[in-house]
């Protein structure tokens, strides 16, 4: 791995856009060793992005919860169900 020079280190340490990009990236794929190091350096000095990371992970779980179709109490109305049923029965009869 290439050594990070002082200038690059400074850029990473202060770049929250880059850090949050890496936080998101590592949730869906492996990030490189260099990226891991960059992120670690940033988070060591940036409590705001640490907060972002905690919240980001909780948001993932919350989103999953919102989409649990089994648990959602939305129901189709009966008249549309009858309509669907009829379409199915018609189709079965035809064939």
């Amino acid at each position: 791995m290439k050594e990070l020079n002082a200038n690059e280190l400074k850029k990473i340490a202060y770049n929250c856009r880059k850090a949050t990009f890496l936080i998101e990236k590592q949730q869906v794929e492996k990030i490189t060793a260099r990226e891991q190091l960059e992120l670690k350096i940033h988070l060591a000095g940036c409590s705001i992005c640490v907060t972002f990371m905690q919240q980001s992970l909780v948001i993932n779980q919350m989103v999953k919860k919102l989409f649990q179709s089994d648990a959602i109490k939305l129901k189709l109305d009966d008249s549309f169900k009858h309509h669907l049923q009829k379409r199915i029965e018609d189709h079965l009869e035809k064939n």
Binding site: R17, K25, F52, K81, L84
Partner: protein
């Protein structure tokens, strides 16, 4: 509650007479959380059942009826996503578009979007109905392509490759979209909570 996933003995057979009773509500909930369009969802449900009837001979019993029907519906939803996003001229995002979240020169958080502690740092926030409601509203405000990419990845566990191919998004745009979606959802939650 109904037992809607028959085990081993019935697994190999389809019983279309029971589809509406067993799966219509589930499939409806599945589609409406992704499309938010009542009429469109009804059309898709009907199309799903009819498409399933057309190809019921192809059902090999490797999955349950419910999983099989859901897969058909999901493909129809992806078709809608694709149609919606192909109409957009600006599918190409660059990191510079984040300028409203971050300072364009140095990448610092801009004041308005800077994360603060407000109670969703721990997973106990998951039980909070208010957060759920706000998050739901925030998700509806996302651009449709972002919503599609984000939910296909996190909810439907699609591979990045599949998502990029289906929605014609480059790998680098995928990364940018995932990032911007999360930053934007987080910001929206904080803004509406505090």
């Amino acid at each position: 509650m109904q037992t809607d996933e028959p085990e081993t003995s019935e697994k190999k057979h389809l019983n279309p007479h029971l589809w509406v009773d067993l799966y219509a509500d589930y499939l409806y909930a599945f589609a409406i959380t992704r499309l938010h369009d009542e009429n469109l969802v009804r059309d898709l449900l009907q199309e799903t059942f009819l498409a399933a009837l057309e190809r019921k001979d192809n059902f090999e019993g490797r999955s349950t009826e419910k999983t099989w029907l859901t897969a058909i519906l999901k493909n129809k939803i992806i078709d809608v996503y694709r149609a919606k996003s192909s109409g957009l001229k600006k599918n190409v995002l660059t990191e510079q578009d984040d300028a409203d979240f971050f300072d364009s020169k140095n990448g610092h958080w801009n004041d308005e979007h800077r994360p603060a502690l407000f109670g969703i740092e721990q997973s106990k926030a998951l039980e909070n109905k208010e957060f759920q409601k706000i998050l739901q509203a925030c998700m509806k405000k996302l651009p449709s392509l972002w919503f599609a990419v984000f939910t296909l990845k996190y909810i439907d566990d699609e591979s990045t490759q599949t998502i990029c191919r289906e929605l014609k998004v480059t790998a680098s745009n995928f990364g940018v979209i995932m990032h911007r979606t999360k930053v934007s959802l987080r910001s929206c939650l904080q803004k509406n909570w505090i």
